[in-house]
């Protein structure tokens, strides 16, 4: 699958071998490596890419906001994939432990951050999202 063919360039190709996680998207709500998915196989199934996460051009999704605030982004090439993996994780486990966050990120390689601030950002996002849903309830 090549999101670039749809003029969506947010999803990055870091290895094209299914090993780095930079191209992670959500297919039917599950994080998958888009480089391992055939475009025809994905047709007609709901896909969320990084472009679809923020509610509007001027607003960020809480995960994105946390990534910016904590400086979990350096070169940014892995960020889209990291954030989609984080979304998958928090959708399935809204209050993950640090170990669970690390496990949830283990399919996303990063060479800049040592993952420390990425783990922190997801914790911050979980708190924000958890707070919001608690209020709704």
């Amino acid at each position: 699958m090549a999101p670039a063919e749809l003029n969506l360039t947010g999803t990055k190709v870091g290895c094209n071998q299914g090993d780095c996680g930079a191209c992670t998207v959500l297919l039917e709500g599950r994080s998958v490596s888009s480089c391992l998915t055939l475009a025809m196989e994905a047709q007609g199934r709901p896909i969320t890419t990084i472009e679809g996460l923020a509610p509007s051009l001027s607003e960020l999704h809480p995960i994105q906001e946390a990534f910016v605030q904590t400086q979990a982004v350096q070169c940014g090439f892995c960020s889209a994939g990291m954030i989609m993996s984080a979304k998958h994780l928090l959708d399935h486990n809204p209050h993950p432990s640090e170990a669970e966050i690390r496990q949830g990120l283990s399919g996303n390689l990063c060479r800049c951050t040592g993952y420390t601030k990425v783990v922190e950002a997801i914790g911050v996002a979980a708190d924000k999202l958890g707070g919001a849903s608690a209020k709704e309830a």
């Binding site: 670039a4 969506l8 360039t9 947010g10 999803t11 990055k12 190709v13 870091g14 290895c15 094209n16 071998q17 090993d19 780095c20 930079a22 890419t49 990084i50 472009e51 996460l53 923020a54 960020l60 994105q64 990534f67 910016v68 605030q69 904590t70 400086q71 982004v73 350096q74 070169c75 940014g76 090439f77 892995c78 960020s79 889209a80 954030i83 966050i101 690390r102 496990q103 990120l105 283990s106 399919g107 996303n108 390689l109 990063c110 060479r111 800049c112 951050t113 040592g114 993952y115 420390t116 601030k117 990425v118 783990v119």
Partner: protein
């Protein structure tokens, strides 16, 4: 120590480019598309060493959709290399002409309407090779009668560096304790997440615009122009976002040349994008080295002499190897007082992918040897390893002979801080089996002084323009490759002019529109050098604004003007104030419309030949080793470092955290499986950089000093931190198991074998 830093200094200002990067709106080179763009592919050598006898491109050319096919004979055949100061070191051609020197050496390039066609065309190029005997290790390359990788380099040694001072023999005589060790360290890769990509667009008059994933646009501009045989000003190099570099993107590369060359031939834009296989199998690496070290100490632990002899495995071309050869010798004596020192470094060609600069630039190797050896010496002398370092540590005002004067140094504080934070003393007293603590220290440069690129320009240059809407525009060739300089440089400018950081617009890294020059992002130079250039420009801007204040308020000569909170005011009477915007307006009027603009420059002068400033640090690693499987688990890392005054706290922490990942990979997991000259592990599945789950908890301890040569007292925080981990983990593994690693990486099998536990 200076304390009146503006508010912005030290703040964790979020990355300016953060929102773009987290929403996927950030554009990287491969995302760029131009009308009519062609896709380039490279044909590479399947042999480690071979003479090219014949190339036939007719079938490739005939394939529908192929627009251009080039081989070395089609090109101007002008050699290039970063060491313009020593022209004979420039040993590379974009496409091989006479022979190929490593598996992956570029032989031909194709431009076609789509990547698949380009790839098929490459498969249709027929090359007849005559295979030649090859050398794959420095020992083989230097052996009597070894085949020559380059005919002009006898014995395959391309460059030699010698350093010598003090009475070496006399000091060894005096020493109570002398030991000799030989260390071997391996090649690893930058493994930036963004594979290299370049897009060249032909302009009128044969000019070229090149967007490329680089950390040195100015170097690429100069070398591309000289290799194409056209004026420098005909080449415009720009970058969009760069997905990491770590030293791996700081040269002219064949695909940059081929994109530009074929764009000129076809009149169409040409883009090359490398694959991860290209990167891992054929890309630049950190030098593997063989390091012989002899040290002499007095019985009370004073370092007296060191004899350091290093062979660098340079691979097939010089690349940044000469610099690594120089710096490795410098790092061999940088952290400690050493009365006598001799260094003999040799850069050796082998038929492998070229090694080049990688985060630390000769330092991870030199310090692994130095620090491992010191730990052994400490044990033998019965001195605590941290005490041994404190006995010998550099201090402020110390002189590194023939190198530099250390004008700020928090080294001893770093050592004391990691001792306290790690619980060093108690834990060493109550040793648990399979468990150990290890120490290592480092010192690093803040940018290089030695002008190997032989630039005619200042090392860093900026232009600052200010406007009567209260904003400023910074033009800088500095190159943010993910480390955050676009944010930090704005912070420095905003802090000095006393305006909000949101008021600063930045145009960065466009060789046609940002002032000449900036040597790029390497050697931890940007914050110090570009920051100083900004301060120089700001001083000139202030000289244009201050007269307005003096006229407005009819001030006495002795008054001082402050720049804070988007205002200028009289320091002794803050009520006398004008907004920054108003002040610029009045100045513009006074200048009869001439815009307020100033250039700022920095070149280190009278700072020795190595670096204008030095950072220091120390690290304790705590590990557990499974004595049955040999697996090492790093339980904790404690790092203290002196990077001068911190400009952006979280950005500095990010450097440390990332450096530990790289250092840990170097120590434990990352290596190339080589068979002859062939790289076997060409995916991230088997090139094992640590994942989020492999990272230990880490404690960061800052020791703040004030570096007089740095902007607001800052110095390096980028590379030095990648240095200590191999030796600190190595020492901890020794404490846990008794296995002393002198041969990186530390693998489970090596541990078990050394302990006699692997049958």
């Amino acid at each position: 120590m200076k304390t009146n830093n503006p508010q912005l200094i030290g703040q964790s200002i979020p990355r300016i480019d953060g929102p773009h990067k987290v929403t996927g709106r950030a554009i990287y080179t491969d995302d760029l598309k131009l009308p009519g763009m062609l896709y380039g592919k490279l044909l590479r050598s399947p042999y480690a060493h071979a003479r090219i006898k014949r190339i036939d491109v007719s079938k490739a050319r005939a394939l529908p959709g192929v627009k251009d096919v080039i081989i070395g004979a089609d090109t101007p055949q002008i050699k290039y290399g970063n060491w313009r100061l020593v022209p004979e070191s420039q040993d590379e051609l974009p496409l091989a002409v006479d022979k190929v020197r490593f598996i992956g050496d570029e032989v031909a390039a194709v431009a076609a309407i789509d990547p698949e066609t380009a790839e098929r065309a490459c498969e249709l190029i027929e090359v007849e090779y005559e295979e030649l005997p090859a050398v794959f290790s420095v020992e083989d390359a230097c052996a009597e009668g070894a085949p020559l990788v380059h005919d002009i380099s006898k014995g395959n040694v391309s460059l030699v560096r010698k350093i010598s001072y003090g009475d070496l023999e006399g000091m060894f005589q005096k020493a109570d304790y002398v030991r000799e060790d030989t260390f071997r360290v391996h090649a690893v890769q930058h493994a930036y997440l963004e594979p290299c990509a370049s897009l060249a667009e032909p302009d009128e008059g044969g000019r070229i615009t090149l967007w490329t994933s680089t950390q040195t646009p100015y170097l690429v501009q100069c070398l591309l122009a000289s290799t194409l045989g056209i004026p420098e000003n005909h080449v415009r190099v720009m970058k969009v976002m760069v997905g990491g570099g770590f030293g791996g993107k700081m040269e002219l590369r064949p695909w940059e040349f081929c994109a530009a060359f074929m764009a000129r031939r076809t009149g169409k834009p040409v883009k090359f994008t490398l694959t991860r296989v290209d990167e891992l199998a054929f890309g630049r690496r950190r030098h593997g080295m063989t390091l012989y070290s002899k040290v002499g100490l007095s019985k009370d632990g004073k370092l007296l002499a060191k004899d350091f002899q290093v062979m660098l495995d340079g691979g097939a071309y010089n690349a940044m190897g000469p610099t690594a050869t120089f710096l490795c010798g410098t790092f061999g004596n940088m952290a400690y007082r050493l009365p006598a020192y001799r260094y003999f470094g040799r850069h050796v060609y082998t038929n492998k992918p070229p090694a080049s600069a990688m985060r630390g630039f000769g330092a991870p190797q030199a310090y692994f040897a130095m620090e491992s050896q010191l730990n052994q010496a400490a044990l033998d002398l019965g001195i605590d390893p941290i005490d041994l370092r404190i006995i010998n540590a550099m201090e402020e005002g110390d002189v590194i002979p023939e190198v530099a004067t250390v004008s700020s140094c928090g080294f001893k504080q770093c050592l004391e801080k990691v001792r306290a934070a790690s619980g060093w003393d108690e834990k060493r007293k109550n040793k648990k089996p399979g468990h150990g603590l290890g120490i290592s220290a480092f010192s690093f440069i803040s940018g290089g002084v030695f002008n190997w690129f032989n630039t005619k320009y200042n090392f860093s240059s900026v232009e600052v323009r200010v406007y009567d809407d209260g904003t400023a525009h910074l033009f800088s060739m500095a190159c943010d490759i993910g480390q955050g300089t676009d944010t930090v440089l704005r912070q420095i400018l905003a802090a000095d002019l006393g305006i909000g950081i949101d008021k600063v617009r930045l145009t960065s890294m466009d060789t046609s529109n940002t002032p000449k020059a900036d040597l790029g992002s390497w050697g931890s130079r940007v914050t110090l050098m570009n920051g100083n250039a900004i301060l120089d420009a700001c001083r000139k801007i202030k000289d244009m604004l201050i007269p307005v204040m003096f006229t407005q308020f009819d001030l006495n000569q002795i008054q001082d003007i402050a720049f804070e909170d988007d205002h200028l005011f009289v320091r002794s009477n803050p009520k006398k104030r004008l907004s920054f915007a108003e002040c610029v307006y009045k100045a513009l009027r006074g200048r009869r419309g001439e815009p307020l603009s100033a250039h700022g420059f920095y070149t280190p002068r009278n700072r020795g030949l190595v670096s204008p400033a030095f950072s220091f640090g120390a690290q304790v690693a705590e590990v557990s080793v499974d004595e049955q499987t040999g697996l090492v688990k790093v339980d904790n890392i404690y790092t203290a470092h002196d990077c001068g005054v911190t400009i952006n706290k979280r950005a500095v922490e990010g450097q440390l955290e990332g450096a530990i990942q790289m250092g840990l990979g170097y120590a434990l997991h990352e290596q190339f499986a080589m068979q002859g000259g062939r790289t076997l592990n060409t995916s991230f599945l088997d090139y094992k950089m640590p994942t989020a789950q492999d990272m230990p908890p880490s404690v960061s301890l800052e020791v703040e000093t004030y570096e007089p040569e740095g902007p607001f007292g800052a110095k390096e925080a980028g590379e030095g931190l990648a240095i200590p981990t191999a030796a600190s983990v190595g020492h901890a593994v020794y404490e846990a198991t008794g296995y002393r690693c002198q041969d990186l990486p530390i693998t489970p099998e090596k541990i078990l074998r050394a302990l006699g536990k692997l049958k």
